[in-house]
Amino acid sequence: DTAVSQTPKYLVTQMGNDKSIKCEQNLGHDTMYWYKQDSKKFLKIMFSYNNKELIINETVPNRFSPKSPDKAHLNLHINSLELGDSAVYFCASSPPGRGHEQYFGPGTRLTVT
């Protein structure tokens, strides 16, 4: 059974479009995260939600908007896509009180043309 899943796995789109990436976890965790891995493989945290509340918001353009409809889901919506948004986006989750135990999803490779 998949613990942290992301859809889609690959996403190719044109500049200026709006797209969403979905993340779901079936582990009963209450905290979820989005990380971005750029073309140089550098991984950086973008957002975190705890019990549907935004708790980490790094320096990310406001074209990126996370949405957490419930504790098991954290979606990432990106408006007006730019070439520099091309990256692999990883979702992760952690159990209550154990933020150091993060379970990562398989990643979504976004390519903006």
Binding site: K41, F42, L43, H100, Q102
Partner: protein, 116 residues
């Protein structure tokens, strides 16, 4: 602020050679966690080890071993008798956590290339 430095960008070895990956970290917190992840060409992040700041015991798991030294703020990783399947990017990471969340700070990664 937290920082993780992996000074080695790429290491190339021939199969069966040992390879050591360096990781140096910076944090002012006394409680923190250190990690190593493997990212094979398929792209997923594979968890290898987690260590908390109070446990300086070295660890061995099969061909993998880790050396944690708080005195030098280092958490190095050695692959013994490397195999082609070890070819991947390896990330060291540091996390300082609160009761509800953890913020991972990753190093830049070290590409390991193992040739037959």
């Amino acid at each position: 602020a937290q920082k993780v430095t992996q000074a080695q960008t790429e290491i190339s070895v021939v199969e069966k050679e040992d390879v050591t990956l360096d990781c140096v970290y910076e944090t002012r917190d006394t409680t923190y966690y250190l990690f190593w992840y493997k990212q094979p060409p398929s792209g997923e992040l594979v968890f290898l080890i987690r260590r908390n700041s109070f446990d300086e015991q070295n660890e061995i798991s099969g061909r993998y071993s880790w050396n944690f030294q708080k005195s030098t703020s280092s958490f190095n990783f050695t692959i013994t008798a490397s195999q082609v399947v070890d070819s991947a990017v390896y990330f060291c990471a540091l996390s300082v956590t609160t009761d509800s969340w953890g913020k991972f700070q990753f190093g830049a990664g070290t590409q390991v290339v193992v040739t037959p």
